[in-house]
């Protein structure tokens, strides 16, 4: 029965482009990189495949400082982004009214300018002789011989700023889906605003919060532009190391090993986060199930 066969094959056919994409742009490069990470040699002598597993522990011990720093910066920035992003998403979703779309657009608008240019603008704005620093000096927030640019604060702030929309959009999407009648029901049951928020709104927005933190944290931990432009070598993150190993030192095995380690840590963190928050939240299905 050809018709039925066709029907049976259809899902696979529909999956094919996606699977093909994954294989070509994910699986193959991954395998290739794994292969590279187990080589030894230099650019002059060429690289030989020798099952060099020691590349991994060596990479970790050489660059543990930058690894720790990456997750520290990304973590602080993620917390800051929740503190800024949640209220913002909440207001847009519940109080936005007819301004909703305009406000959302305002959130996305910075994305119309490339990431690099935005970060470079901060470099200019925070410049030692710029008005921001001189104002901060006048009110005494920055010491007279102090600076803002090329400090840890600038890097973390840069990361927060650059990835903030990744936090806000999923949060908004889940908040916006909440049926206002559920909130009314909460008030009808004599819930105070705080209770309604903690028992109704917050749990229902968990999928957005989880998705937002992941979307924020993953690129933030691997970022190197903010540290490069707004920081100094004392702020460099693991992304800077990988970048430099590939392009400056041309030590491809270490660079590949570092990329894998970063990926592994990220995966472990995602799993832990998923355990804590629940996989339903991760997949964004919680709301529908209840």
């Amino acid at each position: 029965m050809p018709a039925r066969l066709k029907k049976a094959g259809l899902p696979y056919l529909l999956l094919a482009p996606g699977l093909g994409w994954l294989v070509i742009f994910f699986a193959i490069p991954m395998a290739y990189m794994l292969f590279e990470s187990l080589k030894t040699g230099t650019i002059d002598t060429g690289f030989l495949f020798t099952w060099e597993f020691s590349n991994y522990p060596n990479a970790i011990s050489d660059f543990s400082e930058q690894f720790v720093r990456s997750f520290e910066y990304a973590g602080i920035a993620a917390v800051a982004a929740v503190l800024i992003g949640y209220p913002l998403a909440y207001v847009i979703a519940f109080r936005g009214g007819r301004w909703r779309n305009a406000l959302l657009l305002a959130v996305i608008a910075p994305f119309f300018v490339t990431y690099l240019i935005r970060t470079l603008s901060w470099e200019s704005i925070l410049s030692d002789s710029g008005f921001v620093v001189s104002t901060l000096k006048t009110i005494g927030l920055v010491a007279d011989d102090g600076r803002v640019l090329d400090t840890t604060g600038a890097v973390v702030a840069g990361i927060t700023y650059n990835f903030l929309p990744f936090m806000i959009l999923p949060l908004y999407a889940s908040l916006e889906r909440i049926d206002p009648r559920l909130l009314e029901a909460g008030y009808d049951l004599y819930g105070r605003r705080r209770d309604v928020f903690l028992r109704v709104t917050l749990p229902l927005s968990m999928p957005g919060l989880v998705a937002g933190t992941l979307l924020f944290f993953i690129p933030a931990a691997g970022d190197f532009i903010n540290a490069e432009l707004l920081g100094t070598p004392n702020q460099f993150m693991i992304g800077n190391v990988i970048q430099s190993r590939f392009l400056e030192v041309t030590d491809y095995p270490t660079a590949a090993a570092l990329s894998f380690i970063l990926m592994a840590i990220m995966l472990v963190l995602v799993i832990i986060w998923a355990r804590i928050a629940g996989t339903e939240a991760l997949l964004g299905t919680e709301g529908e199930e209840r």
Binding site: G41, I43, D44, T45, T232, P233, Q243, L247, T250
Partner: protein, 400 residues
């Protein structure tokens, strides 16, 4: 123009100018890293593209001028209207394909390595790379020996100081395109007195206002010289001591950051006052801001050269030599020198430029006198292991 606009203009210029640091262009860096990575990883075995002993190889055979010539150079490294190339086309009838594809020595190496390894130049007839990379290309047997008989203008006009670099003492495998100095660039209005040596960069009064270059040889060479070592023959240990000194400066916050071309942006803004930087960019900066000065440290200024080479398997090697020789006619070179403002490697140009623009002709950074040139050092040719060791140590200092 507001300050903000000026910053942007500078950034854009820094972005595309010759010594652009690759990591500036994030997106570009990422895609290029992937490409050069793929290209560089393909080959498993060690060096030796064409001949196992490049020094013993036969010079490029005489032939006739072909129809085309593929010239790979750095961005903004020839006059804007490319008149030189047009004249060459007119004289020799060979169409010049001039590609500004060398943004960074290492990146370019990653891109061409696999091809060169197979003895395939990827169609290139001339590439331009900095001394140390030119040395690596030679060591790996990726470049052809030149026929000096075909280069009479080069022989006649090449300035004395560049005639025998450590990596190619007889200039048999390379011909300088342009040279430059690495020294101290400073803001006259910000420093207490004119800096004389690199030691001034370690003066606590300038804490956080000092930057150095990310190019290992530039920074380490100048610092090593200030410590009394001679970068033309220093041992790895001595270079390591210089790296340690730089490390201390970076850790203590004395050195604010390490830059490529971005110093052209930080200096005018006032984020840095006293830095290690390149001469050509300083000439351009000074034109906009007279407070910006370049000074050759008393302890030694670094003289580097970007060299034309003919890669193995170049389809038009003979024509390539014609081009190399062509730009060593003073009238031709004058057009290039007038635009790029780096050190002109060709005798007889000074007179021509002085007539056109006395300020340029008398500029010590474009036409340095014999004394300045002989005082300048050329970083010695490092063995691959030494190169690896120093590059790694230095990269750790500059943050990765």
């Amino acid at each position: 123009m507001t300050d903000f606009e000026r910053d942007y203009e500078r950034f854009i210029r820094a972005e595309i100018s010759r010594r652009r640091l690759l990591r500036r262009g994030a997106a570009g860096a990422l895609s290029v890293s992937a490409l050069s990575y793929l290209a560089a990883c393909g080959s498993e075995t060690g060096g030796g593209g064409g001949d196992s002993d490049p020094k013993g190889q036969q010079a490029i055979k005489k032939g006739k001028v072909g129809d085309s010539l593929y010239f790979a150079n750095w961005p903004l490294y020839i006059e804007e209207d490319r008149g030189t190339l047009k004249e060459f086309e007119k004289e020799y009838g060979a169409k010049v394909k001039y590609i500004e594809e060398v943004n960074d020595n290492t990146e370019f190496f990653g891109k061409v390595r696999q091809q060169y390894e197979r003895g395939d130049s990827g169609g290139r007839d001339i590439h331009v790379v900095t001394d140390w990379m030119a040395a690596r290309m030679l060591r790996l047997g990726y470049v052809q020996k030149l026929d000096k008989a075909e280069l009479p203008n080069v022989t006649a006009n090449l300035i004395e100081r560049l005639k025998s670099p450590p990596f190619d003492p007889k200039r048999e495998f390379s011909v300088p395109w342009q040279s430059g100095f690495t020294g101290i660039v400073y803001r006259k209005d910000k420093v207490k007195r004119e800096p004389k040596s690199v030691d001034d960069l370690f003066d606590p009064a300038y804490k956080g206002k000092v930057t150095m270059l990310t190019e290992m040889r530039d920074t380490v060479g100048v610092v090593a010289a200030s410590m009394g070592f001679d970068p033309e023959k220093a041992t790895t240990d001595e270079f390591m001591q210089a790296i340690e000194k730089i490390d201390e400066g970076a850790k203590s916050g004395q050195i604010r950051s390490f830059t490529g071309n971005e110093f052209t942006k930080d200096l005018p803004k006032g984020d840095s006052w006293l830095i290690i930087g390149w001469s050509g960019d300083s000439v351009q900066l000074q034109a906009d801001n007279p407070n910006i000065r370049f000074v050759a440290p008393e302890t030694g200024v670094h003289l580097w050269t970007d060299n034309m080479q003919v890669p193995v398997g170049a389809p038009e090697a003979f024509t390539a030599q014609k081009m190399m020789d062509f730009v060593y006619q003073p009238e031709v070179q004058a057009d290039i020198a007038e635009y790029v403002n780096y050190i002109c490697p060709c005798n007889g140009v000074k007179e021509i430029l002085t007539e056109r623009d006395p300020a340029l002709g008398n500029n010590q950074l474009i036409f340095p006198d014999e004394e300045t040139l002989s005082g300048a050092f050329i970083f010695r040719d490092l063995k691959p292991e030494e190169d690896q060791e120093l590059t790694e140590a230095f990269q750790k200092v500059i943050g990765a």
